[in-house]
C-alpha cells in the first residue's frame, strides 16, 4: 500500500512542471511611437495531467528601453507598488487532443482569469505547446486592453499608447 501511495505521489509530482524564468513581453503600436517591454522573471506552473496553468508576473520586472517610461509605467499606470504581481490561472480547452508523451507542436486554446492592477477578467488565448524529448514550450499571443483593468491612460496620450496591447508569452518547462 505504501509503495502504491508513493507511486501515485511520484506521478503527481512529475505532472507538475515549474519555470521561474518565463519570458513575457508586450507591444503597443501607436501613431507616434511603438513601445515594447520585456520580462524574464515570470514564474509559471503547469499541471500536465489536468492541462491547467498558473502564471505569476512581477510588474516591476518589465524593462523598457527608456528608463523614464519604465518609471511612469510603474508609478502612474500599473501602480506596481500597490499591485506588485499580475496573475493568470486557466486551463486548456482541448486536453484530450494533447499527448504530452509524443514529440510535436500542438495547437491549443487556454481559457482562464487574468488579474492585472487588482482587476480580474476572463480571457481566452490561442497558443501552442511544443513537446520535445521531455521538454515543453508554451507560446501564446493575445490582446489586452488597459482600460479593462482600470489602467487609466490620458486621452492626449492616445497617439503614444495603443488602446489594445499585444502580449506575448514564451514559457520553457
Amino acid at each position: 500500500m505504501i509503495i502504491f501511495l508513493s507511486l501515485t505521489t511520484i506521478i503527481h509530482a512529475q505532472d507538475k512542471l515549474i519555470t521561474k524564468t518565463g519570458h513575457i513581453w508586450f507591444y503597443s503600436h501607436a501613431p507616434l511611437e511603438d513601445i515594447i517591454a520585456h520580462t524574464h522573471q515570470a514564474a509559471a506552473i503547469i499541471d500536465l495531467s489536468k492541462g491547467s496553468i498558473a502564471v505569476s508576473i512581477p510588474m516591476m520586472s518589465f524593462e523598457f528601453k527608456k528608463a523614464l517610461m519604465q518609471e511612469h509605467f510603474n508609478e502612474n499606470y500599473v501602480e506596481s507598488a500597490k499591485y506588485p504581481k499580475a496573475r493568470f490561472i486557466g486551463s486548456v480547452k482541448n486536453l484530450s487532443e494533447l499527448n504530452f508523451k509524443k514529440n510535436g507542436i500542438y495547437k491549443t486554446t487556454v481559457t482562464g482569469e487574468l488579474t492585472i492592477h487588482n482587476v480580474t477578467k476572463k480571457i481566452e488565448a490561442d497558443g501552442t505547446i511544443e513537446v520535445k524529448d521531455g521538454k515543453y514550450t508554451v507560446i501564446s499571443k493575445f490582446n489586452v486592453s488597459p482600460k479593462d483593468y482600470d489602467i487609466k491612460i490620458e486621452n492626449r496620450l492616445s497617439r503614444n499608447i495603443a488602446s489594445t496591447i499585444e502580449v506575448n508569452i514564451e514559457l520553457n518547462f
Binding site: K20, A44, I45, A54, P58, K65, A81
Partner: protein
Amino acid sequence: MKNTLTKATLTFATLLCGQYLMSQSPENLLNSLDSITPPETAYTYATFKSTRVINGHSIERMKEGQLDFRVSHRFGLINQGAYELFGLDQGTTCLNLEYGIKDWIMLGISRTSVEKTFSGLAKFSLLRQSSGTRNIPVSVSYLFETSAITVKWSNPDLNNLFSSRFSYLHQLLIARKWNERFSLQVSPTVLHRNLVATEANHNDVWALGLAGRYKITRRTALNAEYYPRLNPEPNTTNCLSIGFDVETGGHVFQLLVSNSTGMIEKTFIGETTGKWNKGDLHLGFNISRVFALKGKKHVK
C-alpha cells in the same frame, strides 16, 4: 476475513488518495506557484518627480543614458507692486544639463545669470530605499558641486585672485518615500566660499535642508523646501520655498514661490535676503525635459 479487510482498506485508501489528487483546485496551483517564486526586493521609485525639489536637489537622479535639460527662472520681488508687474518685469535664469553616466552617477553643468556663475556637479546614488528581501528605509545620495562666478570684478584695481571666484558644495541627501503620496528629505550641507564679502560672513556655511512633497494626483504634487543655516550671517535669511509640480510624460513643470532669486546652492543657501513676512517673494518656475539618449538594450 483478514484478506477482504486488507483489500477493502487498500481500495478505500486508494480512493481517498485519488480524491485528494483530483481535488487540486486552480487556487492550489497558484499557491504552489507562490511558494516556489523567489522573494524579491522592491526598490522604491519616484520619491520625487524630478532631480530638484524646488531650488535644492532631491535624491532622484538621471538613469544611465538619460539627459535632463532644465530651464529655471526667478522673477523679481512681488511686493514691488503692479508697476513692476509684481516682479514679472525682472528675472534671473539658470540653464542646466544633467546626464546619467551610470544608473548611480549623474554629472551636470549649469550656467546661471546670477553673478554669471558656471557650475559643475556630480551626484552619486549611494543607497536606494527598498522593501522585500532587502529592507532599507531611506534613499541616500551625495552631491558635490563646484561653482565659479564669471562676472567682472567690481574693482579691477584690487588684487583679485582667480581662486576667489570659486565655491564648493558637499551635500548628503537622505530621503524616504513614506507612501504613494508623501516623501520627505533631509539634506545636511556644507558650502565653502573662497571669498566672502565681509569679516562677519563665514567662508563655510553649514545648513540642514528640509524638503517634502505631497502628491495630489498621479501627475501633480505640492512641495515645500527650507534651508536653515546652522551658522547664520547678518543681513541674510534662510531660503523657504513652496512649489507645485505638474508632470506630463517627458516634462516636469515646477511653479514656485521663494524668498530667493538664486537657483544654485551658493546663492540660495548663502545669499538669500528676502523675508517672507515682508512679502519679499519671487515667483518662478523650473521646466525639466528628459531625453533618453541611450536606450536599454533587451538581451534575449
